[in-house]
């Protein structure tokens, strides 16, 4: 299928917002993620530009990475953030209900490199699943037009000074609610589709790690030489 090149001209690439994870994290933890982004630039570059049209999926993957690498006992949800980013929060809940994600957690949990690679590959798979859901493209467009620009930070809309205009951004919250419902319903109706996508991401991560490991082993050998 011939894809239009024009969106690439018009839309700037989405930049991850600072400190907007669903979890309470330190600057150092955010920094670690940025360093991995630089280290695995080759993998990050393989993300299709259109995938970035749904920025919360991009941020969801970062949260996945944190969930994989930080032990549950040290990971605390930020209640305010879960309220603001309700779409991402519901997506996170749906994904972590799947059985395959437990397998992934078992294999990659705690290993920063593998978790990062998985989160990047999962990103593309989730986008695929997301775009196949009925009416999701309309909702996504509506959401983006409500935010007015996809790179904008929606957190200030929930601040106290805005409550004089409107107690909370009703339209935005309503769309987010609709998307969240759609995620839940589609998972309940047919969990196999999402399970398959996660399994695919798992397999691709393994193959990516496999090619990296051939040399990784040799590097260890080289390092251990006198």
């Amino acid at each position: 299928m011939l894809r239009s090149l024009k969106p690439l001209l018009i839309q700037p690439a989405y930049k991850l917002q600072e400190n907007n994870s669903l979890f309470t994290l330190t600057a150092h933890q955010y920094d670690e993620y940025s360093q991995l982004e630089k280290k695995y630039e080759a993998l990050v570059l393989s993300t299709p530009p259109l995938v970035q049209n749904t920025p919360y999926i991009l941020e969801f993957c970062r949260d996945c990475y944190f969930k994989f690498t930080i032990p549950d006992s040290d990971l605390f949800e930020d209640t305010m953030q879960t309220l603001i980013y309700s779409t991402r929060h519901s997506l996170m809940r749906v994904i972590f209900k799947t059985t395959n994600i437990k397998k992934v957690l078992n294999d990659f949990g705690g290993d920063k490199d593998s978790s990062f690679i998985f989160s990047q590959i999962l990103h593309k798979k989730i986008f695929q699943w997301h775009s196949e859901l009925d009416g999701m493209d309309v909702l996504t467009k509506e959401l983006l037009s409500t935010i007015s620009h996809k790179n904008v930070d929606i957190r200030p809309l929930y601040l106290e000074q805005y409550s004089t205009i409107e107690p909370y951004p009703k339209k935005l919250a309503a769309i987010q609610q609709q998307i969240a419902k759609k995620y839940n319903n589609s998972f309940l109706e047919c969990p196999e589709i999402l399970e398959t996508y996660i399994l695919e991401a798992y397999k691709q991560t393994n193959s990516f790690i496999y090619y990296g490991q051939i040399v990784k082993m040799e590097v260890t050998y080289e390092d251990s030489r006198p």
């Binding site: 011939l2 080759a42 570059l45 393989s46 051939i214 040399v215 040799e218």
Partner: protein, 433 residues
């Protein structure tokens, strides 16, 4: 070593001229699809011969055409070409920047072959920047892509193996490098893929040069040169000849050394000539583009069109003006275009808009052909015009000829008369200075 005469180069350069003409025709016919494809062919061919020659002039224009026609394949290749030029100029950061843009487009358009090739190119740049770990990750990403999308394009797979072998070799994983290289050795036995084979031989030569095994390096370079002759990549041929000249192999005879030197010199001289002739063509094209966007003035003319116009007007006693900037040799092409454009602009501002005039660029001179203009009128306007030009552009030499009876029906004679006048004026100026 195979012999190569200049006919082959002539043939290749002729194809470049033909492509240039094809591009001009497509442009004048407003067929933008044909225009884009011929322009891309022209840029590809010019890259093989000159490496960077035309890409900088046509890059933006070609980029816009690609977006207009939504042609991701050409757009990716365009970014790849410009990145290759920057790579050749050793500006690796800039090369990586353009490769990344190309990669983004290739991934967007699902052109997996091209994306994989660009991953390999980025790895090559990173090797040059001595960032081997990063280069390895890019090569691995390419490898992963080959497997994931079952890429069967041999050129891409060979490119990957070349980069991967070199990275492994540089990272001191000799065994892995040799294992990986086995695939490339099989390619060398094939009767096609000369470009790829040349790259493999070049890599072998570099490797053996580091090991100081100059005999194998020498033989690999000769094979590399033979392969390059089949592809017509002249700049690479020059590089290989340079390497052959510097290779201290014992088996190299003085006759061979002389032959390399002659071949390199011949290639360099010929490319210089070709480059000069293309400078002129490029200048014409710029003039064309300038006038296309400037509807007040008729389009610039080439020699043929010049003759036709002269033929039509010869009976109406046209006036022919020739102008040359005096410091032409010292100026850059862009500067010449700018100055000439300015002269044309002034000339048309001061002349009567009802008078039909034709202007163009011919034999390094700017010419104006006027019809139905009385001598008195021109005589009155000319000093004003020259004064303005002198003030704003610099000194110019000009010639003015009216087609009287002796020159009637002979456009060549008209031009020759103007040229002769111009020539003597220039000489006189030189004598005075």
């Amino acid at each position: 070593m195979k012999t190569q005469d200049l006919d082959d180069i002539e043939l290749k350069s002729n194809s470049l001229h033909i492509l240039f003409e094809e591009y001009k025709i497509a442009k004048s016919n407003n067929n933008i699809e044909l225009e884009l494809s011929s322009l891309m062919q022209l840029l590809e061919q010019s890259f093989l011969i000159f490496e960077e020659y035309l890409i900088f002039d046509f890059f933006e224009y070609c980029e816009n055409l690609c977006y207009e026609l939504n042609n991701g394949k050409h757009l990716t290749r365009l970014y790849e070409l410009i990145a290759l030029v920057y790579y050749k100029q050793k500006d690796f950061d800039q090369a990586i920047k353009f490769y990344k843009i190309g990669l983004k487009i290739a991934i967007h358009c699902e052109l997996h072959d091209l994306a994989c090739k660009i991953y390999c190119h980025i790895a090559r740049c990173l090797i040059q920047k001595k960032q081997l770990e990063d280069a390895l990750r890019f090569a691995q990403a390419a490898q992963c892509m080959i497997k994931t999308f079952s890429i069967s394009n041999q050129s891409v797979i060979i490119r990957f193996h070349i980069e991967y072998s070199e990275i492994l070799y540089l990272l001191d994983h000799r065994e892995l490098s040799v294992e990986n290289f086995k695939y490339l050795e099989n390619i060398l036995t094939l009767d096609n893929l000369f470009g790829e084979k040349a790259n493999i031989y070049w890599m072998i030569a570099k490797g053996y040069s580091k090991e100081r095994d100059y005999e194998i390096e020498y033989n690999a370079l000769i094979e590399c040169y033979n392969c390059l002759m089949m592809t017509g990549h002249f700049q690479k041929q020059i590089d290989v000849l340079e390497a052959l000249l510097n290779c201290p192999a014992k088996s190299k005879t003085s006759a061979e050394q002389n032959s390399f030197m002659n071949k390199q010199q011949k290639l360099l001289t010929y490319l210089q000539k070709l480059s000069n002739s293309f400078s002129f063509k490029k200048l014409f094209q710029k003039f064309d583009d300038f006038y296309m966007s400037y509807d007040k003035i008729p389009k610039a003319l080439d020699e043929e069109a010049f003759n036709i116009i002269c033929n039509e007007w010869i009976n109406d006693q046209p006036h022919l003006f020739l102008f040359t900037l005096d410091d032409l040799d010292e100026l850059e092409m862009d500067e010449i275009i700018k100055k000439y454009s300015f002269v044309v602009d002034i000339f048309h501002t001061i002349s009567d808009p009802n008078i039909i005039s034709v202007c163009g660029f011919f034999n390094n001179q700017l010419f104006f052909l006027f019809k139905n203009t009385t001598y008195e009128r021109i005589n009155y306007q000319l000093p004003r015009f020259l004064q303005t030009v002198e003030q704003q552009v610099g000194t110019i030499t000009f010639a003015h000829v009216i087609a009287d009876d002796s020159l009637a029906n002979n456009e060549r004679a008209l031009y020759s008369a103007a040229y002769a006048q111009h020539y003597y004026k220039t000489k006189a100026k030189l004598k005075m200075s």
